[in-house]
Amino acid sequence: MSRAEVTAGAAGASGADGVRAATAATAKETDTGHPAGPGSPPRPVRLAWTLGLLRSELSITFRRWRTLALLAVLAAVPVLVGIAVKIETGDGGSVGGGGPDGGGGPAFIAQVTNNGLFLVFTALAATLPFFLPMAIGVVAGDAIAGEASAGTLRYLLVAPAGRTRLLLVKYATALTFCLVATLVVAASALAVGALLFPLGEVTTISGTRISFSDGLLRALLIALVVAASLIGVSALGLFVSTMTSSGIAAMATTVGLLITVQILDQIPQLHAIHPYLFSHYWLSFADLMRDPVYWDDLVKNLGLQALYAGVFGSAAWARFGVKDIAS
């Protein structure tokens, strides 16, 4: 009962005294420069181990139903285009029946009936303006914001994933998705093209003929260029993703920006800004079908994508590095 002699009012004081004594005691052991404590040798960080997060990110991204659904939709586009072309030309007519470009529809569509390989180019030309960037917008926009709204971001950061490392992993995953999505479209188109139409030597835009295997190589090159065309949107989506704690808001904003840019690119009065819009040179991939290849716009496109990656990647890093994680 000796403790009970202390009155309630003095309890706070005695507690505070205890603390003062404790801090005074610890103050004597000032900065010996030791890491953590004993029994805790600093655990080494190994490069192969830090890549574990990338592996984990890739595996959960491509295991999600949402990702698989997006890829399924993309794979369905060439199927629909192929079937539509087959039906329309079943009576021996030609697509659109218009001028040398086939009048309307995506590029190369007129050549599809002669050579199934052209379905790859047609499908990529059809999906590049919206389907592909929208799918990328969903994945990149959700990258950070989705983790934030699920609350998992705070646990990744205290793991500690490291903010820069997490951002790099998210961007690498978005880029991987760009490549996979493009290849899915190309592969689906090639399969449908081979199934519905004849395959053979390829006539380039310039009128020269190249062998089928050369044509395949060009198709692969085009797919890679199309995937690279999405680098800018990915960076933009990632940046938007660091601005909000709502995955849905980030996805919607990214897709909204994409549509806005596409509209701006169609307004002739705004031609001054057109060369700076990330989608402006997208369809330059067709120049790979010229013989010899016309590189100017292709290089401009890749340069522009690199610029967007640099600008919005840095902005995302600057923003995410200091952001208070309150979700």
Binding site: A11, G33, A36, G37, G39, R46
Partner: protein, 317 residues
């Protein structure tokens, strides 16, 4: 201001003048906190008192407006990558990937730690699942988990590696009484292994049962901190006499030097005198008081809290 390194006897968490301001609102106001190594430290306060904001600053999730925080002897948030591998944390409830199984959630969080060896990852995840009693449900998708199971999985994530410090924010939220007991015994077990446990709660009972030290926050300020025994001792137990003869009892007790008498319908309470309580009882009986109950009611941390703040505990800041 004292600065310490994380020496064996030093503080595991040390803050000085730690402040977080949101606009005009001071969420945390000049916090000087010191958590001794090896303690089970209860961090008490009503909802909205700034506990979670403090924890987020300690974990490097939010930047303090001013002041400093050191965890394991290193400044936060500057040294997060060196400090946090040694810290397990459960912050504001668990957060899981609903589309992954419980086991895969743990593997995911473990792969986020660059110091975690991938070769032992699966074994460590199984051990952590076993420790929180979740082995049987490890293959189920996390979205099918009950709140209690999610809480356990969150704890398992904090236990994936041997830790020096565990920061547990309201760890028994959503658990049934049996689950609460299990978590408490787990905390005691971890503490006996030498892990410092920093436990925030708004449940005074919980703190009193497992903690060696405690700090109390209200409205962003630290009111007190110290060993639990000292805090509770501050609020003395009260002598309580149950009797129908309250008037006589009060008179006798006053003569015996019992101060601060309060008479209710059939009870007289007061501060216990320094004399032997048996003598007090004998005196009451001699004076013809019909004593039906006699004893000293133990002071709880809640009494201490009320004594400190002069208000009920459930007041939100």
């Amino acid at each position: 201001m004292p600065s310490t390194s994380g020496t064996p006897t030093g503080s595991v968490i040390e803050t000085s003048g730690l402040t977080k301001r949101y606009g005009k609102h001071l969420a945390v106001d000049g916090l000087d906190l010191s958590v001794p190594r090896g303690s089970v430290f209860g961090f008490l306060g009503p909802n909205g008192s700034g506990k979670t904001t403090t924890i987020r600053m300690l974990m490097g999730l939010i930047e303090p407006t001013s002041g400093r925080a050191k965890v394991l002897g290193r400044p936060m948030p500057h040294d997060t990558r060196r400090v946090l591998p040694h810290v397990g944390a459960l912050i504001e409830g668990p957060a899981l990937y609903g589309f992954l199984s419980g086991r895969d959630n743990l593997l995911r969080y473990d792969s986020a730690d660059p110091t975690a060896d991938p070769r032992t990852r699966k074994a460590r995840a199984e051990a952590a699942l076993d420790r929180v009693g979740l082995t049987a449900a490890a293959g189920k998708k996390a979205k099918a988990y009950s709140l209690g199971m999610k809480q356990r999985l969150g704890l398992a994530a904090a236990l994936l590696q041997p830790r020096e410090l565990l920061v547990l924010d309201e760890p028994t939220n959503g658990l049934d009484p049996q689950g609460m007991r299990e978590i408490r015994s787990l905390v005691r077990e971890l503490a006996s292994d030498g892990t410092t446990v920093f436990l925030s709660s708004h449940l005074l009972d919980e703190i009193e049962q497992v903690c060696t030290h405690a700090a109390v926050m209200t409205q962003g300020r630290l009111i007190t901190q110290g060993p639990v025994a000292e805090l509770a001792a501050g609020a003395r137990g009260r002598l309580t006499v149950t009797t129908p003869d309250t008037g006589d009892a009060a008179r006798v007790l006053k003569e015996l030097g019992v101060a601060d008498l309060v008479v209710t319908e059939d009870r007289v309470t007061g501060e216990p005198p320094g004399t032997d309580l048996a003598d007090v009882n004998a005196a009451l009986v001699e004076a013809g008081v019909r004593v039906r109950g006699f004893g000293v009611e133990r002071a709880s941390l809640e009494d201490a809290f009320v004594a400190l703040t002069g208000e009920g505990f459930d007041v939100a800041g």
